[in-house]
């Protein structure tokens, strides 16, 4: 299974739906970039995809945009490093991934438990067999990125690894897919 336009559109539609209904903020998209993962984030929500589509979804933020967007979603000011902050970022990622997978017509896909990574300028890599599409998104509260990597083979397993600028790895489980 490789990336096709249906997958890209599914994530665009799901992101738009989450932001319009639950963050109460319109979102616009820049031109998707195809390639390998190279973006750096301060905060990211990561969810694995399995079944007929295997891969992972990252919703990545700068620290400032993460605080603004998570706070708008939760309806209260959230601070980085708190459990509520991780919960909100994880739930946003969960709804975007869940909304997208529901649009994968004819494909049985499951989403995993979201993890939230908080570390300055971390980068998340995927296996070389994965095709990655990076979509930069703009909302009033800030810019963020949807990064989807889908394996070229359904038998391959995706296990993205995050590395912060200081070389450490960090992941905070943020509940389960809802």
């Amino acid at each position: 299974m490789s990336m096709d336009v249906r997958h890209i559109n599914a994530f665009l539609e799901a992101t738009k739906a989450v932001f319009s209904s639950m963050v109460r903020m319109p979102v616009t998209f820049e031109k998707p970039e195809l390639g390998t993962r190279k973006e750096q984030y301060d905060v990211s929500g990561v969810i694995g995809l399995s079944g007929d589509v295997v891969g992972s979804v990252i919703v990545g933020f700068t620290k400032m945009s993460a605080v603004q967007i998570a706070s708008a979603f939760a309806g209260t000011r959230l601070e980085v490093g708190t459990a509520d902050f991780a919960d909100a970022i994880g739930e946003l990622a969960n709804m975007i991934a869940g909304g997208a997978k529901a649009k994968f017509e004819g494909q049985a896909v499951s989403i995993g438990c979201p993890s939230v990574i908080i570390a300055p300028s971390h980068q998340i890599s995927s296996p070389s067999s994965a095709t990655s599409i990076c979509i930069h998104c703009n909302a009033a509260a800030g810019r963020f990125t949807i990064d989807v990597a889908i394996q070229s083979s359904t038998k391959a397993q995706a296990s993205p690894a995050a590395t912060a600028s200081n070389g450490t790895k960090s992941a905070i489980p943020a509940g389960t897919p809802a």
Binding site: S21, F73, A74, G75, A97, G98, A102, T176, A178
Partner: protein, 126 residues
């Protein structure tokens, strides 16, 4: 109206509680998974249960099967990202009264709750 909100995300529970506040819920109890809900439901005696699907420890569909298996009839609305038709059918067959897909607007969730409660009241009156 007394409502039990079951979701492992505190953010989502708070959002749902905000919606319930606009439609006159008199008491809201929170549970973070199906097992937690089972341990609270009898003492709280809700008029309605709002239930997430995917949760740790015990998921929503397992809760429904267990609760309905005990012949409990309190209305249940599944509130979940699981939007596929097969999932909706599975939930209805297990005994949920209605289904709300995340993301939702406060207005859409309110409407689903009000519709569900109206149907339950009409069925009781018949």
């Amino acid at each position: 109206m007394r409502v039990l909100v079951v979701d492992d995300s505190k953010t989502m529970r708070n959002i749902v509680k905000g919606v319930l506040g606009t439609i006159g819920a008199t008491a809201v109890e929170e549970a973070s998974d199906g097992q937690d809900a089972l341990s609270r439901v009898d003492a709280f005696n809700p008029d309605l249960i709002l239930l997430d699907w995917n949760m740790p420890v015990m998921d929503g569909i397992t809760f429904v099967k267990s609760y309905r298996g005990a012949k409990k009839t309190t209305p249940i609305i599944m509130v979940t990202t699981e939007a596929e038709k097969t999932r909706v059918i599975e939930a209805i067959q297990a005994g949920v009264n209605n289904y709300a897909v995340k993301p939702f607007t406060p207005e859409s969730l309110s409407k689903i709750i009000e519709t569900t409660m109206a149907k339950v009241a009409a069925k009781k009156a018949a």
